[in-house]
Amino acid sequence: MAGSWNIPLTTLTPGVHFYPLTGGEPVAGADTAAQLTVDRTVANGLNATPAVTQADIAVSLSPDGGASWYQAASAGLPGGIFTDKHGATVNSFSIGLPLPAGADRQARAQVTISGSSVAVAGTLTVS
């Protein structure tokens, strides 16, 4: 069954942070895709942070109920204001990927902060 788990609004210090804090969220057998979304607009978030601070956002997957993990996909998000091809400020970021098949899968979000502390909020969704 599809699920969605929040990364609560938190100011993260430099280093690696996992959501959930330990283990992972179960992925139902019918789920085929994962999407991790981050809000850049929160107070003291990425849009309000100098570019020397960066959040590396990753979706990690476990094929064996949490016994082992691998980083399935990631993206580096620097602080600062970015605009899209229409000139609008970029306020959100998402990374998505299909889920490999498996019977005992789990998923978790990984946020790695470099530079200074920054506020992050987001959602990990599997469907």
């Binding site: 085929t32 895709a33 999407q35 979304t37 981050v38 850049r40 990425l46 960066q54 590396d56 990753a58 094929p63 691998y70 980083q71 399935a72 996909a73 990631s74 993206a75 580096g76 998000l77 620097p78 970015f82 605009t83 899209d84 091809k85 229409h86 609008a88 970029v90 306020n91 959100s92 970021f93 998402s94 990374i95 998505g96 990927l97 299909p98 490999p100 098949a101 969704t125 469907s127």
Partner: protein
């Protein structure tokens, strides 16, 4: 015998065209066992949906096979819709390609794109491909990316083909960049690149840096004959979404 890189086509500079077909030459060495050609299709969201595009490829007139035939399915669900997508990357393979001469790779795409970019790599010692590992991003603020390719075995070669919105792709993490063609920033897929990495055994991380924008990537292990398996039924096209900026622009700015 390990899988090894053989040659790049047309060169490390890749190829581009603003109209279909996109053509370039590739010379496969005498021992080449497979040729992989990739094309990034950048188009304006108002012109057509990714799912409506038809892409075919030939090498010296011989039809190449899409690595995962069929329509785009789940890759961009929630990130994208068929009407706002602005490009994708697609990879083709030809086993036992003709060798020794500069034959033409020709990629045809319709409806008419804004930009096509691409290139090709040939390898020796291959027997097939493992599972495809695609990923895509939206929200034009990404300056680096990675995708994990699990289950690799020593002797294989991992390849990643990526399309980006603003170019500047540079392989990192020990991978070797094979080509890069940065055409323009008109769309979310007007630029593309490819990189390879000798299979480390276990999970290979294919990573790169890029100019701030979105990306779509597809990575897989090219395996020696004994290890080659069957592709899992994942999608053929990895859309580069533009998506959230549309969603949020609508939500926040009412346009």
């Amino acid at each position: 015998m390990a899988v090894a890189f053989d040659a790049v086509g047309p060169s490390a500079a890749g190829a581009t065209s603003s109209a279909s077909p996109l053509t370039w030459t590739h010379t496969c060495g005498a021992g080449a066992t497979a040729l992989y050609a990739a094309v990034a299709v950048g188009h304006l969201s108002s012109t057509f949906a990714d799912s409506a595009a038809t892409v075919t490829a030939t090498y010296n007139g011989i039809a190449m096979t899409a690595l995962s035939p069929g329509q785009s399915t789940s890759i961009a669900n929630g990130l994208n819709t068929a009407t706002t997508s602005t490009g994708f990357i697609k990879v083709f393979r030809l086993a036992s390609p003709p060798t020794g001469s500069a034959f033409t790779v020709s990629v045809s795409e319709s409806p008419a794109p804004d930009t096509l970019t691409g290139g090709s790599i040939s390898v020796t010692g291959s027997g097939g491909e493992g599972t495809l590992f695609p990923a895509s991003s939206s929200g034009a603020s990404v300056t680096s990316g990675s995708v994990g390719v699990t289950g690799t075995t020593a002797g294989g070669l991992v390849a990643a083909f990526m399309a980006t919105g603003s170019g500047g792709e540079t392989a990192t993490g020990g991978a070797t960049q094979r080509y890069k063609r940065d055409a323009n920033g008109n769309t979310s897929a007007g630029n593309s690149a490819a990189e390879t990495l000798a299979s480390p055994g276990g999970t290979a991380t294919m990573s790169w840096t890029q100019a701030a924008d979105s990306f779509a990537v597809i990575a897989f292990e090219i395996q020696p004959p004994a290890a080659a398996g069957t592709l899992l039924p994942q999608q053929e096209r990895i859309r580069v979404p533009q998506v959230l900026r549309h969603k949020h622009r609508s939500a926040r700015y009412g346009r």
